[in-house]
Symmetry: C2
Subunit: 262 residues, 2 copies
DNA sequence: TGTACATCAGTGAACGCGCGTTCACTGATGTAC
DNA sequence: TGTACATCAGTGAACGCGCGTTCACTGATGTAC
């Protein structure tokens, strides 16, 4: 019976987790480029070369962290989506957007690792693209569901409604096909056939806005301009939801807990 | 006569420019954290310690580059704005947004330096905040001018118009006051008294969208999703201009020149 | 115009640091008969 | 159940690298009388 092999494998798995946890701690403190195998080993009471039993190189450890971060964010987005009634598209949109921001503010350096400028000298391998799209896919599914339910309307007054260029329309069709199947095969490929192309383009725009806001907040762009970022973010989520075409009823502001200084 | 002193000062100034140019080249190639005083000196045929005659530390050289980058971007935005008739708010909005993106795509690593995740171990000093706000100020002035001219309308159909939370409204008032005077004192403080608070909040949202899109494009988020980023960006600029409240007439797509592979 | 002195640019050696990765090794843990 | 062997985890020394910064120095360039 290979139970003894199982024990070795389990211990090995646990140590891999410990290494990642310590590496994550370092990334959280000083950013991705500060990740050092020697420092990780030191902290674990190990000699530096010992790490090589578990990760073949620094880059592979970094890759593992990045994949975990994407998966963590994606799981958070999926969980936030799951708390809402399926036909409450405004609620789902809000819930997922706030979950993405909450995760980012809770893990600023992991956010920087995944959505900031790439770590110098590191190039992401193919394995990251599945997990990377997981959170985006949640938003895409909301869009699709709203489209299928006929709950997407162009929200602009006729006289203010911008024309959709033929080139942008073509891109909307392309993006519809391009959505990859989710990492853990929770669902099949997302088809956006029931979403009008102008709404697809506005959704792409909203997608960039969501992460643009979060990046600005984490990288300090709002200092001296906006202090109550909770309020402005919530308003932006509402406005952009409406912009995409979801009807967004008013809702009281839910705040993030703030850490109280000693 | 101090003309001889003048000569020394001029030569000194030129070498400072050469050092910055070489440093910029390195940043453009490998990112901000790869900037090395030794490498700069080497490339200039100088011994590494010689640099210290011109910059007291690596961080100060990096700061100089960052300030230059902000100023370059800001000057580009101002120039783009200046090409338009003052009351052509749609044209000014488009022109400035495209100028910001053009600059960013032309200087991806300087963009990463300024709008990406902060360089590890580096903390930006106070001198950068003036230049940093220069490009933003151009957008703010367009918003103000449109407001003063009565050219801002809430573009949403009444039934899709999101409510403005009282907290967000308060932030709009704050942001109005907070806009700093421009770096080179081209104009006084920008007052947004004639811009309705909901439009101010939507403008903040559009601001984050602009840089969010550019960051996604430069950091490779669109790979496999959108290929004609020119088209989608132009559409996003149009849609977001309308979202803010500017009437955006249709306009043919102007493309960025693409580099043709050898 | 000519000399004495001060300023400044650039040199070269050195300090001390931490890094990723390799390699031959020692024991301990598990496997097969 | 007991022994012989293979696997694997972790060690410790070493290689070679590039970095930021300091410091005492040598000449050349400019200044003052």
């Amino acid at each position: 019976v290979p139970t003894s092999t199982g024990i070795r494998a389990r211990v090995r798995g646990e140590l891999i987790q410990e290494i990642k946890a310590e590496a994550r701690r370092q990334v959280a403190e000083a950013g991705g480029s500060a990740l050092s195998l020697r420092a990780v080993a030191r902290e674990l009471g190990m000699v530096s070369s010992g790490i090589y039993r578990y990760f073949p190189s620094r880059d592979q450890l970094l890759t593992a962290l990045i994949i975990d971060a994407y998966d963590d964010l994606g799981a958070g987005a999926e969980a936030a989506d799951a708390t809402c009634k399926r036909n409450d598209f405004a609620g789902r949109w809000r819930s997922v957007c706030h979950a993405v921001r909450d995760w980012a503010l809770g893990h600023p350096n992991e956010y920087a690792l995944t959505y900031g400028s790439p770590v110098p000298g590191y190039h992401a391998p193919q394995d990251t693209v599945g997990p990377a799209s997981r959170s985006t896919l949640v938003l895409a599914v909301i869009l699709r569901d709203a489209g299928v339910a006929g709950a997407l309307h162009n929200p602009f007054r006729p006289e203010d409604r911008p024309a959709l260029s033929t080139e942008a329309k073509a891109q909307a069709a392309g993006a519809t096909q391009a959505l990859p199947p989710p990492a853990h095969a929770r669902a099949g490929t997302v088809e956006l056939n029931d979403v009008p192309p102008d709404a697809v383009v506005r959704a792409l725009t909203a997608w960039t806005q969501l992460f643009g806001f979060i990046s600005f907040e984490i990288f300090g762009r709002f200092v001296g301009v906006v202090d109550d970022t909770d309020a402005v973010f919530a308003q932006a989520v509402t406005d952009m939801g409406a912009f995409v075409g979801i009807t967004m009823p008013a809702r009281p502001l839910r705040r993030r807990p703030r850490s109280t200084p000693g």
